[in-house]
């Protein structure tokens, strides 16, 4: 329904759309402001005063330094590896492209604890990396030499963490850059080759590829930095001697916000969270600016025709891309293998055995209060509800932003866009605290509401839905609406012909992402009060994996649960890729 055209306000947006915008922004700001208000009341000092005291905490100083360092290095390596991969995927024809894209995206939606378990398996004795003589975990051999020669504490842990962050964020670079390469009008390159500046490869890079790919790469880099900076589980497991601000908050968060109890913890959380939120906001505003620039330079051309023109990838590119995919899969394969492997550690006959016992326990629920099928049903239920709520909300917001920009209110649109991204800037600890504080104040019975975990899921997926739908809407030419208005169509038919039909595929992609993110979401859900029978699969994985593992079947059970989660997520992502393929075939 084209609400914007039926009734206008001063900014050209329908009042209902303003309401939705206000709701989405309130959904993001609400928990954060409630958490800050609570901490402010408990500590008696303002967030800004608390920030000034952060530097008195040596742990916070170390965490900030470490977070900036590891996020910068992670970003550099992610872009360095991701850019050629995206270029190769966008330029050449590949067999089983849908599967490859799904596999590439799988790390991004894999619960961090599963990813960490996969990496630990690779790095430990018996793992591939260890077998190659690189001991990143125990830091012996060349890594140990590196540590003693440079005085660098735990270089192996740092390298492992960077590798995991690259693994996690690589798909971001491909997602942002590949479509630009694939859809670039080939005439641009051809014409440039005729000009003096385009005679050399360096010249073409300088005058074509950097201006074209620069904005998309910068957006991907900004998000990579952002996700690495706020890394929590990966840091906890792969770099146990270090902290980011987020993992530090995770340690102290539970105690925060309680009147008259461990006030020093509330003070520390208030200071660190304020500092981190401001940093995150600045990063998101920058990323938003780059992204808008990125959507402007997109030059649409049929990507399959482009790929056909360049043919299959040369052998070097083929080895590079396929080899990288195999490497990306290695941690996930480790998880599957670990679900069948159980230790038999009775001194003389120490070793491992292969068994289905982990799967049996996962299925029967012996090691949890919820069997795997219940947890999976809960996960799917939350995911579907998240989708049903987030997609319409995301559509309404994206539509408003596009209208505002078309009406010339670019600054207002930019500001609102940044506000809608706010949930991404929040620490999971603050979201959890805000939820508890807010719900308690206004509607305590909500604690008993079985779909409560959907709220943080919606909060976290909405920015992605908006980010997917906004550029798609911006690409719809206004002439379609003009043409449709000449026909005597009802409001619904008008909407479909002028906008809806062009959004089927981006909306399907957004829907798949909603499902996949919700399935893998872990942090915020975990910090909201947890009722056992609501446990989702990702929470179950963490719950079982965190238990004391005196009993050798605990870990295989956790890994069996993780395998189920991965398979379901892969299925959802494959649907996503089918939607993209449909778009390409139908030139939407």
């Amino acid at each position: 329904m084209n609400l914007a055209s039926s009734k206008r306000t001063p900014f050209g947006v329908h009042p209902i759309q303003w309401l939705v915008l206000a709701f989405v922004i309130a959904l993001g700001i609400g928990p954060l402001s409630l958490a800050f208000t609570r901490l402010w009341a408990v500590t008696g000092i303002t967030p800004w005063e608390a920030v000034t005291q952060v530097y008195e905490l040596p742990a916070a100083k170390d965490a900030l330094t470490f977070a900036v360092l590891e996020a910068t290095v992670s970003t550099v390596f992610t872009v360095a590896i991701g850019l050629p991969l995206a270029w190769a995927f966008g330029r050449y024809s590949w067999s089983r492209m849908r599967l490859k894209r799904s596999l590439l995206f799988l790390p991004f939606v894999t619960p961090p604890i599963v990813a960490a378990a996969g990496f630990l398996a690779l790095l430990s004795p018996g793992g591939i990396v260890y077998a190659l003589g690189i001991d990143l975990r125990g830091e012996t051999g060349i890594i140990g030499w590196m540590a003693s020669a440079t005085g660098w504490e735990h270089p192996g842990h740092f390298i492992a963490l960077i590798t995991a962050h690259v693994w996690f964020n690589l798909s971001l670079v491909v997602r942002f850059v590949e479509p630009v390469v694939a859809q670039l009008d080939p005439r641009w390159e051809e014409q440039l080759r005729l000009l003096p500046a385009g005679q050399t490869r360096l010249g073409r890079i300088q005058h074509l590829w950097i201006p074209i790919l620069g904005p998309a790469t910068t957006v991907a880099a900004a998000y990579t930095f952002f996700f690495s900076f706020t890394s929590f589980a990966m840091v906890k497991w792969l770099a146990p001697a270090s902290n980011t601000l987020e993992s530090l908050l995770g340690e102290m968060g539970g105690t925060a916000g309680i009147e008259g109890y461990r006030v020093e913890a509330s003070l520390a959380v208030l200071g660190i969270a304020t500092f981190q939120t401001v940093m995150m906001l600045l990063m998101l505003i920058l990323a938003g600016r780059f992204e808008r620039k990125h959507s402007q330079v997109l030059s649409l051309h049929h990507e399959e025709a482009n790929r056909r023109k360049h043919g299959t990838a040369p052998r070097v590119w083929s080895w590079f891309a396929n080899g990288l995919l195999i490497m990306l899969l290695a941690p996930l394969v480790s998880v599957v293998v670990a679900s069948f492997r159980v230790r038999s550690s009775n001194g003389a006959t120490a070793g491992y055995e292969w068994t289905f016992e982990g799967w049996k326990r996962a299925w029967s629920g012996d090691f949890s209060t919820v069997p795997v099928y219940d947890a999976l049903a809960n996960s799917l239920t939350y995911a579907v509800i998240t989708l049903l709520v987030a997609l319409p909300l995301g559509y309404a917001v994206a539509s408003s932003l596009v209208t505002l920009r078309r009406e010339g209110h670019r600054r207002v649109a930019g500001m609102l866009d940044s506000l809608c991204m706010l949930p991404l800037s929040m620490s999971a600890v603050m979201v959890g605290l805000g939820m508890v504080a807010g719900i308690l104040r206004w509607y305590p019975d909500l604690f008993s509401f079985p779909y409560l975990p959907v709220v943080p899921h919606v909060m976290l997926v909405l920015p992605f839905v908006i980010r997917l739908l906004t550029p798609a809407m911006e690409r719809i030419e206004p002439k379609f609406a003009e043409q449709a208005s000449l026909l005597s169509l009802g409001p619904l038919a008008f909407w479909w012909h002028s906008r809806g039909s062009f959004l089927v595929v981006p909306a399907t992609m957004a829907a798949s992402l909603c499902l996949a993110f919700s399935l893998g979401e872990f942090g915020a859900t975990y910090l909201v009060v947890r009722v056992g029978s609501w446990d989702s699969l990702s929470i179950m994985v963490d719950q079982v994996a965190s238990r004391p593992k005196f009993d050798p079947f605990v870990l295989p059970t956790a890994m069996a649960l993780a395998t189920v989660l991965m398979v379901v997520t892969l299925m959802v992502l494959t649907v996503n890729e089918r939607a993209r393929a449909w778009r390409v075939r139908h030139e939407v």
Binding site: S124, G260, L380
Partner: protein
Amino acid sequence: MRTMLITLLLFLAPLSGCLLETEDDGCVSAQGSGGEGPLRILTYDIAAFSDEMLGGFTCNTGYEIELIYADDAGGILELLLQTQQAPQAHVAIGLDNTYLQSAIDFGLLAEHDVNTTHIDPTVMERYSGPFAVPFDQGDVCLNYDEREVDGENLTVPTSLWNLTEPAWKGKTVFPSPLTSSPGRAFMAATVSYFENDEDESTDAFDWWQAMFENGATVTTGWTEAYEIHYSGGYGAWVDGHLGDAALTVSYCHSPGVEAYYSGNWTVSTSLLLPRASFHQIEYGGLVNGGGNVEAANAFLTYLLSEEVNHNMPVNNLMQSVLVNATWPETEGYRYHTDVPEVKADLSTERIGAEMDAWLLAWTHEKNEAEA
């Protein structure tokens, strides 16, 4: 793929929420206890709360159960505090004696109506008031790797001060008392230890400072300390094990548990220095203002029944609180379990009154060492 997904969705959708429905085979018919809904139990991930155990309660009493999870004992206290104005649970299970007094002082617990006469009187000495009942116990103490502490490279400490010597530099790991209940229990034990040693010029926090300066590692929880860093435990078989610490904080019966699951084999043992262990008791109590009192009392009674409580060593890796409780003989569980003769001597009231100050002092020493 599409067909598979749809089939999966259709297959799984009806299964949602079927947890804890009881079969009608000789059980008391399910009830919601006077219109107050299922009994809501706030707990951490206690292994003893298996489907079988919870199902048994529902079968015997007809009360249905819903579990609300916190991370650990500290998480239970924090959640009770955060929800004090609008209690979400009827009963809280898992507060230990380092948290219990705080819960009582904040008025979080209500009086119970459970018969405690069959509980070991020595357990009741710690707390025998009306606000909580003990349901399991264990001694928190230092564990060391016998292969590392072999008398040559490292010798068995005869005083906690030995751990501050250069030989032990970087070879110890402790779960933080700020975030771990065994960590908190051990820190409390050090207070008692140094109050009772011969040297009156130093206290526990001088020792902690010396430990930090001697490269002691501090982890968020017990799991990271025992599984990742400790060389003498099952962690050696878990991917990502570092094994850089020959000594950590765990339970005096942890070597017994190691043996039980490894065919009577372990290289881990307990360090039984007088007053360097803490007798941890875990409690259950009715949540003040939570309601559902009858069902809550019934659950605490069930938790203390012979059939449930005597199985604590296997089901929850803790000792029963009932009279004449023993560790199982199976696979060397009892053989490798140590029982300290002289434990930390701290009353529950004193712990409640001074814990915040101890935590501040501990944090101060840690910050000083890191600065």
